[in-house]
C-alpha cells in the first residue's frame, strides 16, 4: 500500500522534502515505518520526533492504513 508522509521543521531539512508517498507492505505498523524512514534518512536516527496520524499524536504499535495522513514532527518550539 502507499502512505502519504509529511515532514516538518528540521525533519523536512533532513529529508529535503516536505512530503512524499512511500510504498510499504500491508498492515505496516508505525514502528516498522519509523525503521524504514530511519534507514532511508540517516539524520533521523539520532533525533527525537513524534508522529501524528490524522493530526493526532500516535503510539508505535498502531497499524497504518493508506487513508492515513502521517506527519513526522520534531520538538515543538512555538511561542
Amino acid at each position: 500500500m502507499e502512505l502519504k508522509i509529511l515532514y516538518f521543521g528540521m525533519i523536512a531539512e533532513i529529508t529535503q522534502k516536505k512530503e512524499e508517498i512511500l510504498s510499504v507492505q500491508e498492515k505496516c505498523s508505525l514502528i516498522e515505518l519509523k525503521n524504514i524512514l530511519k534507514n532511508e534518512y540517516q539524520g533521523l536516527g539520532s533525533l527525537s520526533f513524534k508522529v501524528a496520524i490524522d493530526r493526532k499524536i500516535s503510539t508505535d504499535s498502531i497499524l497504518l492504513d493508506s487513508t492515513n495522513e502521517i506527519a513526522l514532527l520534531p520538538p515543538f518550539s512555538g511561542g
Binding site: 493526532k56 514532527l73 518550539s77
Partner: protein, 146 residues
C-alpha cells in the same frame, strides 16, 4: 465544537493590534480583569553568533485542531469570559512579538491561572517549529524548554 478561530498571523504581531484588541473589550463590562501574555523573540547568543530572527512554520491543520481543543479545555476548567490566541508564522525579528494570549474574567485570580495554563499548553502541545536565524544566515532549530 465551536467554530475555529483564526490564530496564525503572517509575520510579527504589531503592538497596535494588541492595543486594538484591548479596546474592543471595553464594551464587555462584566469583565474585571484582563491578563495578557506576550512572547517576544530573544536575540540569544549561541556559540558567538546572535539570533537575528525566528522563522516559524507549522503543521497548520493539526495546530488549528490543537488550538480549538486547548481553548475548549480552558473554558471548561476556568470561569473566564473570553480568550484570544494569536501566533506568528514566517519571519519575526528579535524584539518583535510572536505570541499574544489574552484572557479576561470577572476577577483577577482566575485570569492569572488561566493564562499560565494556556501558554504552557500552547508551548508543549501545538506543532509549531521555530528556526533561529543568525546574522550570517546560518540557522539552528529551536526547542522549547518545558
Amino acid at each position: 465544537m465551536k467554530k475555529s478561530k483564526k490564530v496564525f498571523i503572517e509575520g510579527p504581531i504589531p503592538p497596535s493590534f494588541i492595543a486594538n484588541s484591548i479596546e474592543k473589550h471595553q464594551t464587555k463590562t462584566t469583565i474585571g480583569a484582563h491578563d495578557i501574555f506576550l512572547g517576544q523573540v530573544r536575540a540569544d547568543k549561541i556559540e558567538d553568533k546572535v539570533v537575528q530572527a525566528i522563522e516559524y512554520s507549522s503543521y497548520i491543520e493539526m495546530a488549528q485542531d490543537k488550538f480549538d481543543e486547548i481553548r475548549e479545555t480552558t473554558f471548561d476548567k476556568f470561569e473566564i469570559t473570553c480568550m484570544h490566541i494569536y501566533h506568528s508564522l514566517g519571519i519575526v525579528k528579535a524584539g518583535e512579538i510572536c505570541l499574544f494570549v489574552f484572557v479576561s474574567s470577572p476577577h483577577r485570580k482566575v485570569a492569572f491561572r488561566a493564562i499560565e495554563f494556556l501558554v504552557e499548553k500552547i508551548k508543549s502541545e501545538v506543532p509549531v517549529f521555530g528556526k533561529e536565524i543568525f546574522e550570517d544566515q546560518s540557522h539552528i532549530w529551536k526547542v522549547n524548554q518545558l
